[in-house]
């Protein structure tokens, strides 16, 4: 049993050990396998095939398993390291210590958005190998300076956790109700109001975090650790709600037949099911 901490509470030594472990698995090539997995499993809900990672009920358990694999890789390097979480309802500006030179480094420069400070700057040795653009450097545009938008707020989170049902048909990005889609953050809104919660944070960071290769930015893990914590909080708040839906696979004739994962079906690339990921008790806990 280990503890995931708020990044703002890490000591200088804890920050250094986390960063060092990330750099070690980057050098071994393991990090880029995580980048590839995330790219490969980004299936949109207009495609007629199985989607397990996004726009789907298993968005939360799939990413919980993904984080566990990443954390195991880090802990093989340094047994004392865990994935910190970024509470973006509180640490809301590029001036936050999150973006300091000893943790994530800062925003990208104007023009090409290249990150030039911190351990994940190209000049300090962080080379992007699995990208959809030709640049081999990490990019960011924190807060989208050209057309500023704000990080999601506590009210945005409350809008999601107010939902008493985990997810609803059609189990995709158009589900108008349900905790999962509201936390993932798809809406029918327009302008910058269209992005909520999880999606809005990807938009706010910008650069690599916008695309399928978002894992190239290590802040991906801190962001998803907080999303994971919000799922845990929702379960705590809703002990009488089914912790995952759908319970059974959609049947032949249903538009979602063989396109989503029910509670006891495996989530590729693993044999892990959402049921297996409903609780992290005994594995890790969050310091809140």
């Amino acid at each position: 049993m280990y503890t995931r901490k708020n990044q703002s509470s890490l000591s200088r030594a804890e920050r250094r050990r986390f960063v060092d472990a990330v750099l070690k698995i980057k050098r071994s090539g393991e990090y880029d396998e995580f980048v590839r997995t995330h790219i490969d499993y980004y299936v949109s809900d207009g495609e007629h095939r199985l989607r397990v990672a996004h726009m789907t009920p298993s968005f939360l358990p799939w990413h919980r398993r993904f984080l566990l694999d990443f954390e195991r890789a880090l802990r093989r390097v340094d047994q004392g390291v865990t994935v910190p979480y970024w509470d973006w309802t509180k640490d809301r500006t590029p001036a936050s210590s999150l973006w300091g030179e000893d943790l994530m480094g800062g925003t990208g420069r104007r023009g090409d958005r290249r990150v030039t400070t911190g351990p994940f700057a190209r000049g300090n040795g962080w080379v992007v190998k699995e990208g959809v653009t030709d640049g081999d450097f990490l990019t960011r545009a924190l807060g989208r300076p050209g057309d500023p938008l704000k990080l999601p707020t506590r009210q945005d989170v409350a809008w999601a956790t107010a939902e008493t049902v985990y997810d609803v048909s059609p189990w995709d990005s158009t589900s108008s109700r349900g905790f999962r889609n509201r936390l993932e953050g798809w809406t029918s809104g327009v302008g910058s109001e269209r992005w909520r919660n999880h999606n809005r944070v990807h938009r706010w960071v910008g650069g690599h975090m916008l695309g399928g290769a978002s894992v190239n930015d290590p802040v991906f893990w801190l962001h998803h650790a907080f999303v994971d914590l919000l799922w845990t909080r929702w379960q705590r708040l809703r002990p009488d709600s089914a912790p995952y839906l759908p319970a059974r696979p959609p049947e032949l004739g249903d538009s979602q037949f063989e396109r989503i994962v029910a509670r006891r079906q495996p989530m590729p690339p693993w044999r892990t099911t959402p049921q297996d990921m409903l609780s992290h008790k005994g594995i890790y806990k969050y310091a809140e």
Binding site: D40, Y42, D112, V132, T133, W195, H202
Partner: protein
């Protein structure tokens, strides 16, 4: 299709004719099911947030946008995600597009902003690429 048999040398084929040939080829494949009508229709549906109706007009395109050449045409079979796939490129490099359940399109450059048409998604990708980046050629 007599005009296809009478193709002059490539150098002298005006772009419009070449595009008509592509359109004709696409129509030959797709026309039977009526999936793509009016390949050279107008450009009015390119505002984001207003997904086109499935089976509505699909527009192939070839234009220069902010200094980048963006091209797109409907495809089926391999490389097509879903029944109405598109082959889109920016400066000749493939741009992966994904369809959302509401009928809109996402590009691999930005998974969070959806657009009504492949053309709008390609322009959005160019906006996001800025002046310094080019696509790597990798799809997704």
């Amino acid at each position: 299709m007599e005009e296809i048999a009478a193709v002059p040398s490539a150098r002298t084929v005006p772009r419009l004719t070449r595009r008509h040939l592509i359109a004709a080829a696409a129509t030959a494949v797709l026309g039977a099911v009526g999936a793509f009508r009016g390949l050279r229709g107008s450009d009015e549906a390119d505002e984001e947030g207003q997904p086109g109706a499935p089976g509505g007009p699909s527009l192939d395109f070839d234009e220069t946008y902010r200094g980048r050449r963006i091209q797109g045409e409907p495809v089926t079979g391999d490389g097509a995600h879903g029944p109405e796939g598109w082959r889109v490129s920016v400066d000749g490099q493939p741009l992966g597009l994904m369809r959302r359940a509401d009928g809109s399109y996402l590009s691999m450059v930005d998974h969070y902003q959806s657009y009504a048409t492949p053309l709008a998604a390609a322009r959005g990708a160019v906006d996001e690429l800025g002046t310094h980046q080019t696509l790597s050629g990798r799809l997704h």
